[in-house]
């Protein structure tokens, strides 16, 4: 019985530790200062961009109306999903709790904060999925906590979005290998089958 009590006790202790994590206040997106930075993201060409090939010209600059700029240490620039690309895809869901939020999973660049206007020419990564995007910059303090953000689109009615077409991931050599191995598999089976039938017939005729 003693071992049962020990197991139960350790479980309860563990649970209490788990629950105590929830006691600290989670950092929320709604607490961040909105529109602290002016962000523009200009695609290199019109129409749907190709991942791995096309570029984005991204610029960001501190807005005069920003209040918390004393805390800014680093600027993180990220590629974010527009609402239309989040439909029926709960793994891209926007959540208020920052650690749960999955709107902006793709990192573009991280730079130290500088008051003057910054720019970066970003080539779309080859693992960017097909979708509609905008760019958001987070201003992060020394504790690596987000304090403010700015984005290339407006909040109420998404404008200035751009679309990306992912690479297919297919290769001709892969296709050929696939066909070869498939044919081998079927042929090997047939060879065995026909061979065995023939042997059995020979046995019978003996």
């Amino acid at each position: 019985m003693a071992i049962h009590k020990i197991i139960l006790a350790s479980f309860i202790v563990y649970l209490m530790i788990q629950f105590s994590h929830g006691a600290t206040k989670e950092r929320l997106f709604s607490d961040l200062e909105k529109d602290a930075l002016d962000v523009t993201a200009k695609p290199s060409r019109q129409g749907v961009l190709d991942a791995g090939i096309d570029k984005l010209s991204i610029t960001w600059k501190l807005r005069s109306t920003a209040k918390k700029q004393a805390n800014f240490t680093t600027i993180k620039v990220k590629l974010c999903y527009a609402p239309v690309s989040q439909v029926d895809r709960p793994w891209r869901k926007t959540e208020n709790e920052l650690f749960k939020d999955k709107t902006c999973p793709h990192k573009i660049i991280t730079r130290a904060y500088n008051k003057s206007s910054q720019s970066f020419k970003y080539t779309l990564d080859r693992d960017i999925p097909t979708g509609t995007y905008f760019v958001r910059t987070y201003a992060v303090d020394a504790k690596d906590h987000e304090v403010a953000f700015g984005q290339s689109t407006s909040e109420a009615k998404p404008t200035k979005l751009f679309s990306v077409q992912a690479i297919s991931g297919r290769h001709k050599s892969l296709d050929i290998a696939s066909v070869c191995f498939s044919v081998f598999s079927v042929l090997a089976l047939l060879v065995f089958f026909v061979n065995e039938k023939r042997k059995a017939k020979l046995e019978q005729s003996k």
């Binding site: 649970l15 029926d88 992912a166 991931g169 290998a177 696939s178 598999s185 079927v186 059995a200 017939k201």
Partner: protein
């Protein structure tokens, strides 16, 4: 000891049928060995085997570490083939986070593909029993492995949701190896230990669903490190299960043997195996109400197990904010519990049969499956990670052991239609999986947690059907055997599957032999009969 029955044609010990006037079956009678002119072999034909065998040449012991022909070799080839197919069928699940970005999938697309991945096998499992009866277990297995390998390779072509769904559907057909595997073990091992043997074969095969959650991400990572982009790497990763299938197919054909006495084609040509009529075999399966009960019951043990294989990784990832590989590890441990859970279920079934006969087997099944459902409800309710993992492990044990217990019962439902009923029960598993994935996990109607609890409750309700399985010779959960002297004999039950005409031709002799061996299902009351096989050779505790 020379194992003469290895090579095709040199059946050696099976003299029955050599005059081509008697009708015999694959389990040929060895009692009266009339051909003394061929006195090269010893007088005891059963000494040709590595293990003690019964009158049907089925092994009476189970030694998992042995690879001896034909029994243990068939066991290992069977379960590894099934294991490989489980790897292929669920290979996409741990890679879904990459695939959904490459193919621009929605939750609905992913859910539908999950349903499709288990639906194909409903039909292939139904057909598989008949295919094994016609082609033998070796070719049944090899056909599945080597004809579905092209589907696995064709993942390299997939460009959208429709293609993804079609390929997962076609790969899923190979889950019928479950039927060919349990058919193979059922013809190789005797009734007393069949629960344990099938439990091990089924359980170790099912483990593939867990192993794939670790294997595929690992292969994907290695290929990425070697230089491929993610959207190409996952396609290359699928070549691994494809290769495994082709290799296993070749091994099955070169190393395996259909029956203890030889291969099907040789036995048939020698007049040793009579081909039974497919329509008759099917008819006797459909006429037996127990077939339908087992179909539903397996849907709520194996069915929910397969559903969990498809959804559990994502569930832990989302609900508890875990890393992808952590969620994958937890998902893998669900499937890997099969290694001991299912054999324990089969073993529990066999042990309960020793004391309480068939009634013991039925109660064991009910207890295991109901507790599985109960823990599934708890899993859905759990809000903290350690409780959820505990609930999941208990849940996995319950349902997987229940799977083992069901297949301790299946071999006794029919002798003539064993293949078809195995297939139908197996198909029920896939049907249950599709049935539970569709309402509970493919729409946004329920949070996944509620879906899990509802699935558990549904499982507990349907498991009550076990009470309706009744054998006139052995009884059921609550009723005893019939008091009628004639119908309470095992022979009556099994021979009832043959018409008078067929009995005159002697086609039912295999069933008679089986009935004799099945007297063990009376539990402790079997001893006075004197015809049950002696216990001293049996050692099912070799797990």
């Amino acid at each position: 000891m020379a194992h003469r029955n290895e090579e095709e044609g040199s059946i050696g010990t099976s003299m029955h049928g050599v005059t081509a006037k008697e009708h015999v079956f694959s389990f040929s009678d060895q009692g009266e060995d009339a051909w003394s002119s061929h006195s090269v072999q010893s007088d005891d034909p059963t000494a040709m085997f590595a293990f003690p065998v019964d009158s049907e040449h089925k092994a009476k012991v189970f030694k998992p570490l042995s690879f001896a022909k034909p029994h243990m070799r068939a066991f290992h080839l069977g379960w590894i083939s099934f294991f490989t197919c489980f790897i292929s069928t669920f290979a996409a699940a741990p890679l879904v986070p990459i695939i959904r970005d490459n193919l621009d999938l929605t939750k609905t697309d992913i859910g539908n593909a999950g349903v499709a991945s288990v639906s194909g096998a409903i039909f292939s499992r139904l057909a598989m029993g008949a295919v094994c009866d016609l082609l033998g277990a070796r070719y049944g297995t090899a056909f599945l492995l080597m004809l579905s390998a092209p589907a696995v390779f064709s993942m390299s072509f997939v460009a959208d949701a429709g293609g993804y769904l079609s390929v997962r559907f076609m790969i899923g057909f190979c889950l019928a190896t479950f039927v060919s595997c349990s058919y193979w073990t059922s013809v190789m091992f005797t009734g007393k230990i069949i629960g344990l043997v099938n439990g091990c074969a089924g359980g170790w095969g099912d483990m593939g669903g867990g192993v794939t959650q670790l294997l595929m991400p690992m292969v994907f990572h290695i290929i990425k490190v070697a230089g491929a982009t993610p959207f190409t790497a996952w396609r290359i990763a699928f070549f691994i299960p494809g290769f495994l299938q082709v290799i296993m197919g070749i091994l099955v054909l070169t190393l395996g043997q259909d029956f203890p006495d030889g291969n099907l084609s040789t036995l048939q040509k020698k007049g040793d195996v009579s081909k039974d009529k497919l329509t008759k075999v099917f008819w006797y399966a459909l006429r037996n109400y127990r077939t339908y009960v087992l179909f539903i019951l397996y849907g709520f043990s194996m069915g929910i197990e397969m559903t969990i294989n498809n959804v559990i990784s994502e569930y832990f990832f989302d609900r508890f904010q875990l890393e992808l590989h952590t969620a994958g590890m937890i998902a893998a441990s669900f499937g890997m519990a099969n290694f001991f859970a299912r054999p324990i279920g089969g073993f529990a079934s066999d042990v309960s049969a020793r004391f309480f006969g068939m009634r013991g087997r039925l109660w064991t099944l009910w207890i295991l499956q109901t507790s599985g459902g109960l823990f599934c409800v708890w899993l859905g309710r759990a809000t903290s990670l350690p409780i959820a993992i505990l609930a999941m492990m208990l849940f996995s044990f319950g349902v997987q052991a229940a799977c083992g217990a069901i297949f301790g019962i299946v071999p006794f439902v029919s002798r003539r239609s064993l293949g078809i009923i195995s297939g139908l029960t197996g198909a029920g598993g896939n049907f249950g999986s599709g049935l539970t994935q569709l309402p509970f996990f493919s729409s946004s109607r329920f949070h996944t947690a509620d879906g899990l609890s509802l699935m558990g409750i549904t499982a507990m309700i349907f498991t009550l059907l076990v009470a309706f399985i009744h054998f006139p010779q052995w009884g059921s959960m609550f009723l005893g055997p019939t008091s009628d002297n004639r119908t309470s004999k095992e022979e009556h039950y099994y021979v009832a599957e043959w018409t008078e005409e067929e009995k005159l031709q002697g086609l039912h002799e295999g069933s008679l032999k089986f009935a004799e061996n099945s007297r063990s299902e009376r539990g402790k009351k079997a001893a006075p009969d004197g015809t049950s096989t002696p216990l001293e050779n049996e050692n099912p505790a070799n797990v």
